[in-house]
């Protein structure tokens, strides 16, 4: 009996935070602190925590301080569901989940069934939101398809590219998303022509056969749309250039950053869409100030643009809470869905009752010349990609 009382006492103590005391708001991070997703989750989470600290310094949200609770998903889907439950038990008012749809969904579903808002740190699949989780789920990033569409239209309008080649790495949904966006945009460009297409696997040691097909074309295409990501992307780019192909290479944001460029010395004619520049040359001075702050807090510069969605996430959510005057889920979701071109540090954001993701966004275009990346332009696709096309 004594033992039972002890157990009961212990469980009430554990459960206590669930009845959140009213002077704080809890943000729960069910993200990867170990395993391979950690490399992707950590930077965005650090950025989110910087925004949380800023809000707290400015007096908090609805007069309350924001608090952070963590649970490690260990880059494991089963652990992800547990991590979600664990931050919900710790009293989370909002649940932040892993960057990737597959790894974040278990925790997001746990939040959904507890009636809480969930935010994917930087997932770029349309499933990361209403379509794959439920009406209270959002993603802080921009759809992969927008990246492919942006690159196609920008290269056509600004670089005069007419002949395009499509090279798709069939490994992930993200890669497919980029190429889907490219496919959607291409027919809208009057003189653009698809001169060939091919696919490879991210883990392929060699893409020699794919390169031979490109070289067999009567003339080199103006641009190659390369739908891929780390680590196979580096290998593909290295091999394309080693084979003497000099076409423009258009990419998704997955190839942002200069940390891998030592592998392809003197890379040129290489283009990546980014939400903000990590190279210290963002046209918005506040972004550069954020980079400095990030370095101060974490000890290093942001490695890629995937740091930024974490900041945007807390920013838009906090605004919605402020406007709703409560953290109550349906009220906050309603406020988020009212956002049309809501200004953020990294471009305007829109959420609707159909889509909790960005199907149109402003992108900066980073060109790498002689191994040096720099922002050269910015581009917003002329019309949003219809939800029906995203669900294909």
């Amino acid at each position: 009996m004594k033992r039972l009382t002890a157990v009961l006492a212990a469980s009430t103590a554990l459960a206590a935070p669930a009845f959140a005391d009213d002077d704080r708001i809890v943000v729960g991070f069910a993200t990867a602190e170990s395993g391979f997703m950690q490399g992707y989750d950590k930077p965005a989470q650090d950025a989110a925590i910087i925004r949380i600290a800023e809000i707290n310094e400015a007096g908090g949200l609805l007069g309350k301080q924001l608090e952070v609770v963590n649970a490690d998903t260990k880059t494991d889907r089963a652990e992800g569901a547990k991590a979600g439950l664990s931050v919900i038990d710790a009293g989370a008012d909002m649940v932040v989940v892993s960057c990737d749809y597959d790894f974040g969904a278990p925790a997001a579903l746990a939040a959904e069934s507890a009636g809480l808002i969930s935010f994917f740190l930087c997932a770029e699949s349309v499933k990361a939101g209403i379509q794959g989780v439920g009406p209270n789920s959002f993603s802080a990033s921009v759809l992969a398809a927008v990246q492919g569409a942006t690159m196609a239209q920008w290269a056509y309008e600004k670089k005069g590219a007419r002949s395009f080649y499509r090279l798709e790495d069939t490994w992930t949904e993200y890669n497919k998303g980029i190429c889907d966006g490219f496919d959607w945009m291409l027919p809208k460009l009057a003189e653009a022509q698809l001169v060939g297409e091919d696919s490879f696997l991210n883990e392929d040691a060699s893409i020699a056969a794919q390169i031979t097909r490109i070289k067999a074309l009567p003339e080199e295409p103006d641009a190659i749309m390369l739908c891929t990501m780390m680590p196979g992307g580096v290998s593909a780019i290295k091999q394309l250039r080693a084979a003497g192909i000099t076409s423009m290479i258009l990419n998704g944001s997955g190839m942002d950053g200069s940390y891998w460029m030592s592998a392809v010395p003197d890379l040129s004619n290489f283009f990546v869409p980014v939400q903000g520049s990590v190279f210290g040359d963002d046209p918005n001075a506040e972004v550069n100030a954020f980079n400095a702050k990030y370095k101060e807090v974490t000890g290093g510069d942001p490695a890629t643009q995937y740091t930024y969605p974490g900041y945007v996430m807390i920013d838009v959510w906090a605004k919605a809470v402020e406007r709703a005057g409560t953290t109550e889920t349906s009220a906050v979701v309603a406020e988020l869905e009212k956002m049309v071109d809501e200004p953020t540090l990294f471009g305007p954001r829109t959420f609707t009752a159909e889509l909790h993701h960005q199907n149109k966004a402003r992108y900066l275009i980073v060109e790498t010349t002689g191994g040096k990346p720099a922002v050269v332009d910015e581009w917003t696709i002329s019309e949003p990609i219809p939800v029906a096309d995203l669900m294909k």
Partner: protein, 304 residues
């Protein structure tokens, strides 16, 4: 003509990579009936040994900055060293265990190596400019091919010739062949088992390091999972080559490289994503018609 030649080079260079891996596995299988699944992780380790441990996104290249005439022996020594160490620490204790137990032990060893790398370097792939001079295209009979492809093919041929000479012309090679044929009999005739096995591990490790150098200069990326795909293909090559047959492993390695390349060329775009399914389909066909492998090792046959 030029494009046909190009396809031939593509097939040979991919096949070389698989052949080198298959040879590393077949060597050890030959002397101790061990399918060493840690081979892929030895490949990853050999490449990571060129970097300084760090959790930053940017790789800190350390030994990788050595000039090529030091870099190559250094990497080969790392591979051979790790492989010998794994024999001393792990496999020696399983000498009398059945092959299935040894195979599980090799899986476990592979995990240990992989997680050791994960601990030191994190899961982020690291970029490294290895032997950058090889990333230049060269022109041969109208086909423009990367210099590295040519070197890969030449290196593999050199390794094959060297290994053949070693196995045919030296005493140690003779002992190794004898051990592969019939281990118990060889021991009875005075072949020192530990020395032969150690030699096989050292050679196999050096071959893993050679694969690491080729993969590293081709992809420019060190990734803790990088050995897995090559290991799988190499293992399949040893199986269809005839377990324990060195020549068979090499032949099958080249065959797999050729099938994968040709499939990529002839399949329609929509089916190319499923290229590997066709490759494995071809593997199944080979095994249906020659279950003992293309060239079966004499020692591996069941004796009634």
């Amino acid at each position: 003509m030029a494009s046909l030649l190009q396809v031939l080079f593509d097939a040979l260079s991919l096949g070389s990579l698989y052949a080198l891996g298959a040879l590393g596995i077949a060597l050890i299988f030959g002397v101790m009936r061990l399918v060493n699944f840690a081979h892929g992780d030895v490949i990853a380790f050999s490449l990571f040994a060129l970097l300084w441990p760090s959790t930053d996104a940017v790789a800190i290249v350390f030994a990788g900055n050595l000039p090529w005439f030091l870099l190559i022996p250094f990497t080969l020594a790392i591979g051979a060293g790790l492989s010998v160490l794994s024999e001393l620490v792990v496999f020696r204790r399983f000498r009398r265990a059945n092959p299935a137990t040894m195979m599980i032990a090799s899986f476990a060893l592979g995990f240990v190596i992989r997680y050791f790398l994960l601990m030191l370097f994190t899961s982020r792939p690291k970029s490294i400019a290895l032997l950058p001079a090889l990333s230049q295209p060269v022109e041969i009979l109208g086909a423009r091919i990367p210099l590295l492809q040519l070197i890969t093919i030449l290196v593999t041929l050199a390794v094959l010739i060297g290994l053949t000479l070693f196995l045919r012309r030296t005493r140690f090679g003779l002992e190794m062949r004898a051990a592969a044929e019939n281990f118990t009999m060889a021991r009875m005739l005075g072949v020192r088992a530990n020395r032969v096995i150690m030699g096989a591990f050292a050679l196999s490790g050096a071959l893993a390091a050679a694969s690491a150098l080729i993969l590293g200069s081709q992809t420019g990326t060190a990734n803790i999972m990088m050995g897995a795909n090559v290991m799988l293909m190499a293992f399949i090559a040893t199986v269809i080559g005839g377990m324990g047959s060195l020549a068979g492993a090499v032949l099958a390695g080249f065959l797999l490289g050729a099938i994968a390349t040709v499939m990529q060329v002839i399949l329609p775009p929509d089916a190319r994503a499923f290229r590997d399914a066709f490759v494995y389909g071809a593997v199944i066909l080979v095994l249906i018609f020659r279950p003992q492998g293309l060239l079966s090792a004499r020692g591996a046959k069941e004796r009634v």
